[in-house]
């Protein structure tokens, strides 16, 4: 990638203040045509805020933006879209009660006789999506598809509309390797056409794979910009954290497995997950591996009762139990930190404090409110423990950065002190530093006797803490790996055994 002297987009001195926080302080960024520019930094460093200031989603407090040398001042995301800046925000902002095709073409629908030409729209949607390896029916409601597919739809829309700059804020957080490869090949095609691409992620491997340069932010300030061809991961991580990253315990801690806590027999739900058997012991972590849509989240949901099982039996500590709702399982000592934090996790307008104590409060019942002082103490403890970056415990949780929301949700479940904790993609959107800490936390919880079930698409992480790994394919458990059998290679082999990755 040759960097021509004229940047396509140049931001200078951008600042953004929030009550109680300086999110961006004099940040400058230059994007050259044909480059993939990674934007890196810890959770809360200001990456998403910078993007929003560039596209006009936020009103910046200072700074100028030049597009092709001309000053621009987009008032809202539509304004920047019209200028050729296509953006996928971290919280995908699509309309889930409209069809996939309508979402793709919103604002530029093909018209015929003054009416929306629906047939044409569906046809073109099919073409666009097949470019991303997606073979779905675009006339279905968006909400009927998984978050991964929704993510791909959002990306496809931005790609179609981006004339000069494409901005992707953590686009790969919910994607599998296969979709990531497709995305990257699309990105490469775009850069060949001279587009500049901004890529935000916490996956450093992906950064080095696709990006030419990286700009690192810390606490709202620029730390530096590096050509990636002559930089190392360690160097970049040190710039991000402002310190060296201590290696997480790599060796799989010999689990001290206790007595059986949960036993599921022939447990399943028609149309959701094929019946399976599972025995969970105290002090052990069962890892759930598989592709998107393979049934990882479905397994979690059936065990937790958010989509209750309709067949099979469950025994907890030797006693038969029936789980028909999250409420019943929470009372039995279960917890589930969900995959999709925006729709299934956070309660956006409630404060961080209220979000953290929500499950605990729900379990205590409405007649026994947790006092303000106690709630504050619980929340403060976890904010410290998980290093959640916030201006105040009273701020609505939706104002936290993505990774910090994720940590707050983790806090919600830890606060209930569950016996069985199910984590669905616990490190999604979490930065490298916190990533290592959460892995360590999982191991500590296990050593304290908690039983965990963790679903994750990051195999390296999964094999670090799991004592057993269950591999799923097509909503069925296909393999269980134990002890020395566990390796990334073995998992990948059993995932792929019959080939045919399906979304």
């Amino acid at each position: 990638m040759s960097t021509t002297p004229e940047p396509v987009l140049q931001a200078t001195g951008v600042s953004k203040f929030f009550p109680g926080a300086i999110a961006l302080d004099d940040v400058s960024l230059s994007l050259y045509p044909g480059e993939v520019h990674a934007l890196l930094g810890e959770n809360g460093a200001g990456k998403s805020t910078l993007i929003k200031c560039l596209t006009g989603a936020y009103k910046r407090d200072a700074g100028t933006i030049l597009l092709d040398g001309k000053e621009i001042d987009p008032r809202d995301p539509q304004g920047s879209l019209a200028l050729g800046i296509g953006t996928v925000y971290q919280e995908v902002n699509l309309l889930s009660n409209m069809t996939v095709a309508e979402n793709l073409f919103l604002g530029w629908q093909p018209m015929r006789h003054g009416m929306i030409n629906n047939r044409e729209m569906v046809k073109r949607s099919k073409e666009v999506l097949s470019g991303f390896g997606l073979d779905i029916d675009p006339s279905q409601l968006l909400s009927s598809y998984s978050i991964a597919i929704q993510q791909v739809v959002a990306i496809a829309r931005a790609v179609e509309l981006a004339g000069k700059v494409l901005i992707l804020d953590e686009p790969t957080a919910s994607l599998d390797r296969e979709e990531i490869d497709l995305l990257f090949s699309v990105v490469r095609k775009l850069t060949e056409r001279g587009l500049a691409v901004v890529f935000i992620t916490h996956f450093l491997d992906q950064v080095f794979e696709i990006s030419d340069r990286a700009t690192i932010l810390r606490n709202g300030r620029i730390v530096g910009t590096r050509e990636l061809a002559n930089a190392t991961q360690t160097e970049i991580v040190t710039m991000m954290l402002g310190r060296q990253l201590e290696e997480a315990k790599k060796e799989r801690g010999k689990a001290v497995i206790g007595e059986t806590i949960l036993e599921l027999k022939n447990y399943g739900r028609r149309g959701t997950i094929e019946p399976f058997d599972m025995i969970l012991h105290k002090g052990e972590v069962i890892g759930l591996a598989g592709l998107l849509g393979s049934g990882r989240s479905e397994t979690a949901g059936v065990i937790f009762g958010s989509t209750p099982a309709d067949q099979g039996t469950a025994t907890l500590n030797g006693e038969a139990i029936k789980i028909d709702s999250p409420r019943s399982s929470i009372h039995l000592g279960f917890g589930l930190c969900p995959e999709d934090r925006k729709t299934d996790g956070i309660v956006g307008d409630l404060s961080v404090r209220e979000n953290i104590i929500l499950s605990l409060q729900a379990r205590r019942g409405w007649t026994r409110p947790i006092s303000r002082a106690k709630a504050e103490k619980i929340a403060e403890d976890y904010v410290k423990k998980l290093d959640i970056r916030l201006a105040s415990l009273d701020m609505p949780i939706r104002l936290l950065s993505g990774g910090n929301q994720q940590k707050a949700l983790l806090a919600r479940w830890l606060a209930t002190e569950p016996d069985i904790l199910i984590l669905d993609e616990p490190t999604r959107g979490i930065d490298v530093g916190a990533h290592a800490e959460i892995i360590e936390l999982i191991q500590t919880l296990r050593e304290q006797g908690m039983a965990l079930i963790v679903a994750s698409s990051e195999l390296e992480e999964l094999i670090t803490y799991s004592s057993r790994i269950v591999v799923l394919r097509d909503r069925r458990q296909v393999k269980e790996l134990q002890g020395d059998e566990i390796s990334i290679g073995a998992i990948v082999r059993s995932i792929a055994e019959e080939g045919g990755a399906q979304l």
Binding site: F17, D61, S325, R327, I346, S359, Q361, R363
Partner: protein, 348 residues
């Protein structure tokens, strides 16, 4: 915490102040209060008294709206409750039994709505529309199509009597509003209701029993509506199933909206809604006192309300905020200068 509440209801207090000032301008005797026959008379007292039905409805409606719902049936429930109370006293049941029967009818209506919404997942606007339409018919069946009059002093007292000089309805809505606020804020109910209004899926997954809570809020609106129905019937000494509470659901919703509560659910303040009810009643009072021909009433009311909502609209609020904060508090000078420069450039 007190400071927070005050900040929350400041806009409503200001609007109420302005509308009361309007009252004073059109009728300088607005504030005068007289004491005659053991009873206080005056326009202020009238506002507090006449505002009772809408204030009662707004109390329950606030909770329903906080859950992202709406209850269109409250006017019809008032009619049913009035009819039930009237038929019980005319049958010789005594005022207390009549009140209990009316409240029970209100709770029955509320549970019907609540079950449709929470269990059968009918959209609240549709679910409560059923009873809104059918309710007056039920009321007429109870009164056999007539205006059912009564003269039981105990029942009449609830609508037209006084306690220590103040009209009884004032006590009823103040106590009801205060009680529900107290219960909701002293327990975890308030937060749990807000939580399901903001994101029901997340709330359910966090272990909140959203079904029971939803039924509960519709029970509360049914109860409040029944109380309002009894007050109105007692005031006119008769149950008029055709006209009692007619269109009052709209006033109640308006009171909640003027109270700054979002129809999209979530954070709520009952006190602000009660102030909203008083604002509506004060607007009625201005129109009455100004001696304008009654044909204008609805138009003027609509205009005043448009102005109130306009002032509260996010766009105007934002403009006011920008006007006040023309210099960013945290921004160092140099950035402020740059900012101004950009603003100028983008203007030209």
């Amino acid at each position: 915490m007190m400071g927070g509440t005050l900040r929350r209801i400041a806009p409503q207090l200001i609007i109420l102040g302005v509308v009361i000032l309007l009252n004073f301008i059109v009728f300088p005797g607005f504030f005068s209060i007289e004491f005659q026959n053991g009873r206080l008379f005056g326009n202020i007292i009238d506002v507090l008294n006449r505002g009772a039905p809408v204030a009662l409805l707004a109390t329950g409606m606030t909770l329903v709206i906080a859950t992202k719902g709406i209850d269109l049936s409250v006017g019809a429930v008032m009619a049913i409750a009035g009819a039930v109370a009237a038929s019980v006293v005319t049958a010789g049941g005594g005022w207390f039994l009549a009140l209990l029967a009316a409240l029970a009818a209100g709770l029955a209506c509320g549970s019907w709505n609540g079950i449709l919404v929470a269990v059968f997942r009918v959209q609240p606007i549709v679910a409560t529309l059923v009873l809104m339409v059918a309710g007056r018919g039920i009321g007429q069946l109870i009164t056999e199509g007539k205006i059912m009059t009564f003269n039981d002093p105990g029942l009449i007292h609830l609508g037209a009597g006084t306690i220590l000089g103040l009209p009884t309805p004032v006590y009823i809505w103040v106590i009801m509003g205060g009680l529900i606020t107290y219960v909701v804020r002293r327990t975890a109910l308030g937060m749990l209701i807000e939580s399901i209004g903001i994101n029901e899926t997340s709330s359910r997954l966090a272990g909140i029993n959203s079904r029971v809570l939803l039924v509960a809020v519709y029970l509360v609106t049914g109860f409040c509506a029944a109380l309002a129905g009894v007050v109105v019937a007692a005031d006119i000494k008769g149950a008029d199933a055709n006209n009692a509470g007619l269109w009052m659901e709209l006033d109640a919703i308006l009171a909640v909206v003027i109270g700054g509560n979002s129809l999209l659910g979530g954070r709520f303040s009952i006190i602000a809604s009660l102030l909203g009810a008083l604002i509506i009643q004060s607007v009625n009072s201005v129109i009455l006192l100004s001696g304008m021909p009654p044909e204008f009433n609805l138009v003027i009311k609509a205009l005043l309300i448009i102005v109130i909502l306009f002032i509260q609209s996010p766009a105007v609020q934002h403009a006011i905020y920008l006007f006040r904060a023309s210099t960013p508090p945290h921004a160092p000078n140099e950035n402020g200068a740059k900012n101004n420069q950009t603003a100028k450039e983008s203007l030209s």
